[in-house]
């Protein structure tokens, strides 16, 4: 029972937080609005992590010297 009360109290406080009015904002132009939007947008850190892994797998291709190529030294 106690637990239920606690949950109810918590959900009420969440509702209160959401119902707080937000300040009105005014943007002079679409450029300014989009700049604000861009500034609010967070870059997901997963991209950098994925990129590190992918770039790490990108070992430079083995370069075959022209002498080896010329004399057919690439065959096993």
């Amino acid at each position: 029972m106690k637990q239920h009360t606690k949950l109810t109290q918590k959900s009420e406080s969440v509702v209160e937080q959401h119902s707080q009015p937000q300040a009105a904002m005014e943007f002079a132009s679409s450029d300014e609005l989009l700049r604000f939007d861009a500034a609010q947008t967070t870059l997901p850190p997963e991209i950098a992590e994925r990129l590190k892994r992918a770039a790490g797998n990108l070992a430079p291709p083995p370069r075959i010297g022209w002498l080896k190529r010329f004399f057919g030294g690439t065959k096993p």
Binding site: A24, M25, S30, A38, Q40, A55, L58
Partner: protein, 186 residues
């Protein structure tokens, strides 16, 4: 004007863990701009994440081909625009848009010099996305590029393959169309 939000270095203090330090610096400086373009151009956070990853991976592979006759940011935007446009073409999931649709909004009552009022910032992103999605790909791209203060009209013109004057004219119409759509999304 809002102060730009300071962003932490996503690659941390030791960026060389997989990425060359020079490239990590490029990523730190430009990744947010590229991600934002992809996010609002494609309209999907997951696709934007994939696109940003792919763009920087392409740039990483082609770094030795970068000749330096454009800024790094412009070069990255070029890769990003091509990538996003290819994705849009291959998905065929976006409605075909003609400029005739845009003209309806260009001629509407909305003016570019009238302020855009926002009461609820929590749904602002959705409203912006809806408004951008309603525009043609060309208008959407122009608005996103001009929102980046680091790009000049000349650089934008080069990126979209038009003259600076043509870009100015189209931007005027794009802003008007955007404002009309945005007012409608209230």
């Amino acid at each position: 004007m809002n102060e730009p939000v300071e962003r932490e270095s996503v690659t941390g203090k030791t960026p060389a863990g997989g990425l060359a330090s020079g490239f990590a610096a490029i990523y730190d400086e430009h990744s947010h701009a590229i991600f934002y373009l992809a996010l609002r151009y494609l309209g999907d956070p997951e696709k934007a994440q994939d696109a940003t990853h792919d763009v920087f991976l392409k740039a990483f592979r082609k770094l030795d081909q970068f000749r330096g006759d454009a800024s790094v940011r412009t070069w990255l935007y070029r890769i990003a625009i091509n990538h996003c446009q290819n994705l849009c073409q291959s998905w065929h999931n976006r409605n075909v848009h003609s400029n005739a649709d845009d003209s309806i909004w260009e001629n509407s009552a909305a003016k570019t010099d009238s302020p855009l009022r926002v009461l609820e910032t929590k749904e602002l992103g959705q409203r912006i996305q809806k408004s951008l999605d309603s525009l043609s790909d060309e208008y959407r791209l122009l608005l996103l590029l001009v929102a980046d203060e680091e790009l000049s009209y000349e650089e934008i013109a080069t990126l979209v393959g038009q003259t600076a004057d043509a870009v100015r004219g189209k931007l005027h119409r794009a802003r008007k169309a955007f404002a009309a759509h945005f007012e409608k999304t209230v």
